[in-house]
């Protein structure tokens, strides 16, 4: 009550100082001015590329047509996707890859590491987290070569020779036999550290008194996680889930290096890459690849909206504390 009253008062003062028309012009211009840098960035680096991709996806542009002989094909590329025999299996692969990596590692494992390392002595926690950053710091090619060495075909490989061999498990060509395990592990080991860092800092910024109060109120450590820490992590959880969903949807380099999409591990972004930029026959189908990419953008946007709905995004954002402008 008193707050809105004082706001009204402030507005009155504002009106008194500036003539009517001038005030409305100002109130229109200044927000725009403040947002201009961000708007420019979004337009140049996001909006324009999306438009270009959408435009190209309506053409038959490829290496064969070059930049001169292409023509408009309307929605032919999209129709082709709809009827392509690979569409369903690749979509299924993509969903499995994203959902499992996200649930098991990028959010799940990240949360477990963050919770564990904030409940042990600080130094050990820090060391443990630093270890989890290593996969992210290692160049992808080196990192995947190490995995390939681990999972090399029989009779070679660390798995066959040193880990499972001694247990009496017969040597196997592990990568072809269990491609999904390795796809998810290689991506997950890298992906977990992102959420880990975000969740850790979020947990550590929970005021000490809340943590003490919960214990005095009768929480066990587990109950404190359940009733206090997790609810307070809603915002970082939404952020990490959304961000990692989108980045998993579009990331394919580990899969490319590991299996090149063989053994049934072709995912959507890899498909788009192979069609548009790395065709076996040397014919890069830019138009078709762009259509594939556009579908991916659509899926990403829909997923983001679903998450915001699910986490009740509106409740998470507070009203601005300043009512200027």
């Amino acid at each position: 009550m008193s707050e809105s009253a004082s706001t009204a008062q402030a507005l009155e003062v504002g009106k008194a100082r500036y003539p009517e028309e001038k005030a409305s012009l100002r109130s229109l211009l200044s927000p725009l001015l403040f947002m201009a840098p961000a708007i420019v960035l979004v337009v140049v680096f996001f909006f324009i590329p999306v438009v270009i991709v959408l435009v190209i996806s309506l053409t038959d542009m490829s290496t064969a047509t070059g930049f001169n002989n292409w023509k408009w094909v309307q929605f032919d590329n999209y129709l082709r996707i709809a009827t392509h025999p690979n569409t369903l299996p690749v979509l299924r692969n993509t969903l499995m890859y994203v959902a499992l990596t996200l649930a098991l590692f990028n959010v799940g494992m990240a949360l477990v590491i963050a919770l564990l390392t904030t409940h042990i002595p600080r130094r050990s926690g820090f060391l443990f987290r630093a270890l989890w950053l290593l996969p992210r710091l290692t160049p992808s090619v080196v990192y995947i070569m190490m995995w390939k060495y681990v999972a090399a075909d029989a009779p070679y490989g660390i798995l066959n020779q040193h880990l499972l061999g001694p247990l009496g498990i017969p040597p196997t060509n592990w990568l072809p036999a269990q491609p999904w395990i390795f796809v998810i592990l290689t991506n997950g080991f890298i992906g977990a550290s992102f959420g880990m860092v975000i969740f850790t800092s979020a947990i550590e910024s929970i005021p000490r008194d809340y943590m003490v109060a919960a214990l005095v109120d009768g929480c066990s450590l587990w109950q404190r996680i359940r009733y206090l820490i997790l609810p307070l992590l809603r915002w970082p959880l939404l952020f990490v889930t959304t961000y990692q969903t989108l980045s998993l949807l579009t990331s394919f380099e580990q899969i490319l290096l590991l299996t090149e999409g063989q053994f049934g591990t072709e995912v959507w972004s890899l498909w788009a890459y192979q069609r548009a930029l790395s065709n076996y026959w040397g014919n890069f189908q830019w138009g078709f690849g762009a259509a594939l990419a556009a579908v991916l953008v659509l899926i990403g946007v829909v997923m983001a909206l679903v998450y915001m709905r699910y986490f009740q995004f509106n409740q998470l954002v507070q009203e601005p504390k300043i009512e200027a402008l």
């Binding site: 008194d209 003490v212 009768g218 929480c219 066990s220 609810p231």
Partner: protein
């Protein structure tokens, strides 16, 4: 419930936050931990709550050693300076949270929460979130949350420090009243000596992790056992004057240049022949009179009910509380009479009282 601390010690690296604390708290007693910031009050409180593990020593509740008992099994209610209300829960959810963890039946849970809410005048706030409450309201809810679980021991960590002066006054009385009505043992940490003196049955004064004194408030005021206590307790603070005690014509005198004060035999005798000692006297125990030690008014600070007057006696300054109707002005020549019944004497090296042990 009785509480007993035996040689309780907590060390952070080289720093002793609490050192060899021995303390007995009776059932239903209200004890204040008083000391300046950083003296180890919060640490001691959190040791009792079980958040920290003692480096050495024991904590007993009713003769039961609690060192290994986790906080959730100690049945303690705690109120924080920051309120520490869970921001994602409503007031009602905050109030019932401790009971939910104790698996109190829902009907009783609701009844107890409503009773406490009524007692504290927060019934109309039950659906709000902590972010929508004022500081005073939040502190009431925090108090309610500590009470609904019907604790055996209430801990307060500077609960009123974030409230404005007037609210602090009324909450002070209210907390004291509630504690007496409920008969629950309470420990109240504060750096505000007025709070400690007005609320507590006994005050534990702490300095640098050590217990300096543990006694009823009036004793703390009338018989300070160390220089630190004498200076910390009381407002405006006690005057300290370095003097020498000599026996002249059968009467003990406290002397220094421009200062000569005859003392009562039972006080002066304790300090005679020791070389320099520190004489302490509270501003309300010095009067401006027609005769006595001569001095000059140096500063006048009107406090409303009294004037606090800084009088210069040679090279020492003495603060005096005087009637404003006297209309003392800077530069006036005045005489001071000391209430010799209230004089304190301290050893300047050990800082211990020469009168009380």
């Amino acid at each position: 419930m009785k509480v007993k601390l035996e040689n309780l010690t907590k060390r952070w690296g080289p720093v002793y936050a609490a050192r060899d604390i021995n303390l007995d708290i009776n059932d239903g007693e209200f004890v204040a931990f008083l000391g300046p910031s950083g003296c180890g009050k919060t640490t001691t409180l959190l040791l009792i709550a079980g958040i920290y593990k003692p480096t050495a020593g024991r904590i007993l509740f009713d003769d039961r050693v609690m060192n290994q008992v986790p906080p959730k099994n100690r049945n303690i209610g705690m109120v924080f300076q920051s309120y520490a209300l869970y921001p994602h829960m409503t007031v009602y959810e905050n109030l019932v949270f401790p009971m939910k963890l104790k698996r109190v039946p829902p009907a009783e849970m609701k009844a107890r929460a409503q009773r406490v809410a009524e007692m504290l005048g927060i019934s109309q706030l039950l659906d709000r979130r902590p972010g929508q409450l004022s500081g005073g309201q939040q502190q009431r809810v925090a108090l309610g949350r500590a009470l609904t679980k019907q604790p055996d021991l209430l801990l307060f960590d500077e609960p009123l420090s974030n409230l404005d002066a007037r609210l602090r006054l009324s909450m002070r009385a209210e907390i004291k009243r509630l504690q007496m009505d409920l008969g629950v043992t309470a420990i109240y940490v504060t750096h505000d000596q007025v709070e400690a003196m007005t609320m507590a049955d006994r005050v534990a004064v702490m300095k640098d992790g050590r217990l300096q004194a543990y006694c009823p408030p009036n004793e703390l005021y009338d018989r300070p056992r160390t220089l630190f206590i004498a200076g910390f307790v009381g407002n405006p603070p006690m005057n300290f004057i370095e003097v020498e005690i000599v026996l002249r014509d059968g009467v003990y005198h406290a002397q220094r240049a421009g200062f000569d004060l005859p003392l009562l035999a039972e006080r002066g005798g304790q300090a005679a022949g020791r070389g320099p000692v520190i004489l302490g006297i509270r501003p309300e125990d010095v009067m401006i009179a027609e005769e006595g030690i001569a001095g000059e008014v140096y500063v006048v600070e009107p406090l409303g009910r009294d004037d606090l007057i800084d009088v210069r006696l040679g090279d020492v300054h003495v603060h005096v509380l005087a009637d404003p109707n006297r209309r003392c002005k800077v530069g006036d020549r005045v005489h001071l009479r000391f209430n010799t019944q209230k004089i304190q004497l301290f050893d300047p090296k050990t800082e211990q009282s020469l009168l009380w042990t």
